[in-house]
């Protein structure tokens, strides 16, 4: 029993160190690619991304999404003109949107798109507005899924990035994803996801088509060798006040946990209780790794400062 516990503690310590190493490598890679100017300008002919937005109606957030320097990129916002007439009117007026023709998609059979709108402003050509009625009976997540399916049916590019109202992309997330896709031959990657921060995943259009639309556990359908996992945040909370509050709480909790684990280990060693000391020392390793990783990611969080989040 004691041997098993020791084995478990060793595994926990090794896992904490492995995750921290992955986070630090991800941070360094991000720093490297942030200065790579070629990716944004020349890769744009190869890789196209459609961002599908559900529950996003704030113009500031749409502006921030349209502000991406990447050119082969479009933002599709799904909104119910019947349920939210003021928001819809505000968006159509702000972006000078006009109604355009819509032909049903072969890949994503959706019948409930009322109208499709595009902007007349040259700098907002990448914005598409979909008017789709929201069902009152479905849950919020179901609503998002049907919104994403509707948005996917009008999407023009090969990769789809679904976003909901709670999630905001980091300012350089699109470039980072594109850089990651560009490392591999065309069509070799079907999904990119991040293990840190708010969950967000880029999925190849063909995968979504084969699955019959977005659904739960979509990424499980993608074979591991065609999946990329990033150990760095691509998205954060859209509510920055809430995010800042949570960050403060997490920081204080981590600090307390590290100190408590050290004190407990010291106490257990002084008492000659080595099993307890090993357990609390493992906890100290986990808390220390979390604190270090968190601090390393402060570099990415600083990208939020003074900017509106997409």
């Amino acid at each position: 029993m004691k041997a098993l516990l020791l084995l478990l503690l060793c595994t926990v310590g090794a896992a904490a160190c492995f995750v921290l190493r992955s986070v630090l490598r991800g941070r360094n890679k991000r720093r490297l690619l942030r200065d790579a100017h070629g990716i944004g300008s020349s890769l744009s002919e190869e890789i196209g991304i459609s961002v599908l937005c559900s529950g996003i109606d704030a113009p500031e957030r749409i502006d921030a999404l349209l502000g991406s320097e990447y050119t082969r990129f479009e933002t599709i916002v799904v909104l119910d003109a019947g349920g939210f007439p003021d928001e819809f009117a505000r968006l159509t007026a702000r972006y000078r949107m006009i109604r355009v023709e819509w032909h049903g998609s072969q890949e994503f059979p959706t019948s409930d798109i009322r109208t499709l709108w595009r902007s007349r402003r040259r700098n907002c050509r990448r914005l598409v507005l979909v008017d789709r009625p929201q069902r009152a009976d479905g849950s919020a997540s179901e609503g998002s899924v049907t919104d994403w399916n509707a948005a996917a049916s009008v999407a023009a590019y090969d990769y789809l990035l679904p976003l909901d109202g709670r999630t905001a992309l980091l300012p350089d997330a699109v470039m980072r994803i594109v850089a990651e896709l560009g490392e591999h031959p065309a069509g070799a990657v079907d999904a990119v996801r991040s293990r840190i921060g708010m969950p967000v995943a880029l999925i190849a259009r063909d995968v979504v088509v084969e699955a019959g639309g977005f659904g739960k556990r979509m990424l499980r359908q993608v074979p591991r060798r065609r999946r990329l996992v990033l150990w760095e945040p691509l998205a954060g909370r859209a509510d920055r006040a809430e995010a800042a509050k949570r960050a403060r709480v997490a920081k204080n909790m981590l600090r307390t946990a590290v100190i408590a684990a050290f004190l407990a280990t010291g106490g257990a060693v002084a008492a000659g209780y080595w099993t307890g000391a090993a357990v609390t020392a493992a906890a100290a390793v986990v808390a220390g790794a979390a604190a270090y990783g968190r601090q390393a990611l402060a570099f990415d969080e600083s990208a939020f400062d003074g900017k509106t989040l997409p």
């Binding site: 004691k2 041997a3 020791l6 503690l9 310590g13 160190c17 490598r25 360094n28 890679k29 720093r31 490297l32 200065d35 790579a36 100017h37 070629g38 990716i39 300008s41 020349s42 890769l43 002919e45 190869e46 196209g48 006009i98 355009v100 023709e101 819509w102 032909h103 998609s105 072969q106 890949e107 009008v154 023009a156 590019y157 090969d158 850089a179 560009g182 490392e183 031959p185 065309a186 069509g187 063909d206 050290f262 280990t265 060693v269 080595w274 099993t275 000391a277 090993a278 020392a281 493992a282 100290a284 390793v285 220390g288 604190a291 270090y292 968190r294 601090q295 402060a298 570099f299 600083s302």
Partner: protein, 318 residues
């Protein structure tokens, strides 16, 4: 017999874990202090260095600008980053003053030592900075060992240092580069080309035997919209020995908006799988190809798909 051994192992584990936790906590503290310094002190100094350099460059002065606090820890890297940032976003810059500053403060030699000290992506970033600093041919030889690194980013940025330091032998460096060039890497080479660092012409690249050189040539054709290369692109499409190059050539033809009603293109498309054909159809729809072109290149079963694409993507006014 077992228990004393297990107890010893527990003791060893507890001591090792405690040491690791101490190191991690110290690392977190150090990272916090460094981040605070980066946001405050370093940001202020960076602005001052940039200001001094820009004043000197715009005034056409030969006198070395004054860099406050230069020589303090971290300031060399800061000055290198500032010069590299300036070089990478400007075109046709007179680098004489920058080269003078680099020689005077020994920044290139210091960066080489910094590259040696770093590992992994940090080493690649140091090499990327070094590639932006004006340097001479000796630098190309100095970074040659990094071309054998396991990290592909280190290998690639060592190549960019060589290309920037000795552009006259760019073709040889690219040809001898170990491993295939990814799309991202070709894009970075295009950035170097646009900055005027690489004196490459598309003709010899497309005629080269090396697949890497051909891909760079294709990227140049696509980037600068060289329609004269259409015949060579069609040859690539017809060449079945390199299907990946053929695919790239086909997309290049698409982005040049050349006529796709050619036998070579039809044969190539017939050999593509459904997924690739649909991706190509989407690309063609985005580039504005007419329904008639698609009808002659694709089979009847795919007709509803591309008709929807064309009608929806053009999104004509209601």
């Amino acid at each position: 017999m077992v228990n004393p051994m297990i107890d010893t192992l527990y003791k060893i584990y507890a001591v090792l874990a405690l040491a690791t936790a101490c190191a991690l906590s110290a690392g977190a503290l150090f990272a916090a202090l460094r981040e605070r310094r980066r946001r405050g002190h370093d940001a202020m100094l960076r602005a001052k260095y940039l200001h001094a350099l820009m004043l000197a460059l715009s005034g056409g002065e030969r006198r070395m600008p004054y860099f406050p606090l230069f020589g303090h820890p971290g300031t060399r890297l800061l000055l290198c980053e500032t010069i590299a940032g300036l070089v990478s976003i400007t075109y046709g810059l007179d680098t004489a003053l920058l080269r003078h500053a680099i020689d005077r403060y020994g920044l290139d030699r210091w960066m080489l030592r910094h590259v040696r000290r770093c590992r992994g992506y940090r080493r690649a970033r140091a090499l990327a900075l070094l590639a932006c600093l004006p340097s001479d041919e000796t630098m190309a030889a100095a970074v040659a060992p990094y071309l054998r690194s396991r990290n592909r980013y280190v290998r690639f940025y060592a190549l960019t240092v060589q290309l920037a330091a000795d552009p006259a032998h760019a073709l040889r460096y690219i040809e001898s580069y170990d491993g295939p060039l990814s799309v991202s890497e070709v894009a970075e080479l295009m950035a170097l080309l646009r900055r005027g660092i690489l004196p490459l012409a598309y003709g010899p690249l497309l005629e080269a035997r090396s697949l890497k050189l051909r891909r760079v040539g294709l990227a140049i054709v696509r980037q600068f919209g060289i329609e004269e290369a259409e015949g060579r692109l069609l040859q690539f499409v017809a060449d079945t020995s390199e299907p990946e190059l053929g695919r790239e050539a086909l997309y290049a033809l698409c982005s040049l908006r050349c006529s796709l009603l050619r036998r070579e293109v039809a044969v190539f498309i017939a050999g593509m799988d459904l997924r690739e054909r649909r991706a190509l159809l989407r690309c063609m729809a985005l580039e504005g190809y007419a329904l008639n072109t698609m009808r002659r290149l694709f089979e009847d079963e795919e007709r509803p798909y591309y008709e929807t694409l064309v009608q929806s993507y053009k999104r004509s006014l209601a």
